[in-house]
């Protein structure tokens, strides 16, 4: 398992919100409210504001997302190159895990 994937796991209870935030930012920059709406649409769960900003804080500290300049109070964020790499690794791992689970279910 790669270092980046381990680090996403190291976010503890924020690893899932962080993953959802990164997925939300995969198609372009978004601010907090847009991320909340997008995440609700793609996953069916609405992140609380504290959880959302907990995830943003940790992702920004690791350099996986970065803020963009804004005149508004609402600041948009975008995935960085390393964030893009981390997300790609994580999605590949999830895909592989889903494949194994599907095979096992079929064999059962």
């Amino acid at each position: 398992m790669s270092k980046e994937k381990d680090e996403l796991n190291d976010l503890g209870r924020f690893s899932e919100p962080a993953l959802l935030i990164m997925i939300s930012l995969a198609d372009g920059p978004k601010h907090g409210y847009a991320m909340t709406e997008d995440i609700e649409q793609i996953s069916g769960q609405r992140l609380g504001p504290g959880t959302l900003y907990g995830g943003i804080t940790r992702l920004e500290a690791r350099g996986w997302i970065e803020p963009l300049p804004s005149d508004d109070r609402r600041r948009p964020y975008k995935l960085t190159t390393s964030g893009h790499k981390v997300l790609k690794h994580r999605l590949a791992a999830m895909k592989s895990m889903a494949k194994i689970a599907t095979t096992r279910l079929a064999d059962a």
Partner: protein
């Protein structure tokens, strides 16, 4: 949610965090309906940020002023310990002041590494200080502890000078030197380690990027 209420809820977060994220979180909160779940979510996340800030605050390296201060304190302690005209009570009082200075130094030093490191380091330092003070008090009553030298009969002689003039002078001086040195080194190490933890966390964060 009203801007007044969202502003109040932001106080669940540490100041450093608020300086960076308060405006945008407040903008988000103003779009959210006020529910019990949102309030709990913010308070819980705020508590998490306080803990995180405690561990990850920037640390300052050990500097010459701290080393000079500790050396000076130790030198004064040793000099005071060898004075021949000081009563035992005054000497104990000086020990208390000396211990507080060392504890305070360690505390100020460790706070720079984050409040949690500061709390842990100061607790250890305070514990060390109490042990040091108790050992002298106990030795004075000659009941509770056995110090690593014999004939510690200060009270019966009435003063430190009386004791120093006795047969245990050399042992007493050596023990004082060792104790002062050990306390200085231990407190300095604890403060340094407190700062080191914060610095290490920052370094690891940099490396992981």
């Amino acid at each position: 949610m009203s801007s007044h209420l969202s502003h109040l809820l932001l106080f669940a977060y540490p100041p450093s965090w608020r300086r960076r994220y308060a405006l945008e979180l407040q903008a988000l909160l103003e779009t959210e309906p006020l529910t019990f779940a949102v309030v709990i979510n913010l308070i819980g996340s705020g508590a998490g940020e306080w803990l995180r800030a405690g561990w990850r605050a920037p640390a300052r390296p050990m500097n010459a002023k701290i080393l000079f201060g500790l050396t000076l304190e130790s030198a004064v302690f040793i000099w005071f310990s060898t004075m021949t005209s000081v009563s035992y009570e005054r000497w104990l009082a000086f020990n208390a002041v000396f211990g507080l200075l060392l504890t305070g130094t360690a505390f100020v030093r460790a706070v720079a590494a984050g409040w949690l490191n500061g709390f842990l380091t100061a607790s250890l330092a305070a514990w060390g200080f109490v042990v040091m003070l108790l050992s002298w008090i106990a030795a004075a009553s000659d009941q509770m502890v056995q110090l690593p030298f014999d004939h510690f009969d200060v009270l019966s002689r009435g003063s430190v000078s009386g004791y120093l003039a006795g047969s245990g002078y050399r042992e007493f001086a050596v023990a004082s030197l060792l104790l002062a040195g050990a306390m200085t080194v231990v407190l300095a190490l604890m403060a340094w380690a407190g700062a080191g933890v914060g610095r290490l966390a920052n370094n690891l964060q940099e490396v992981s990027r």
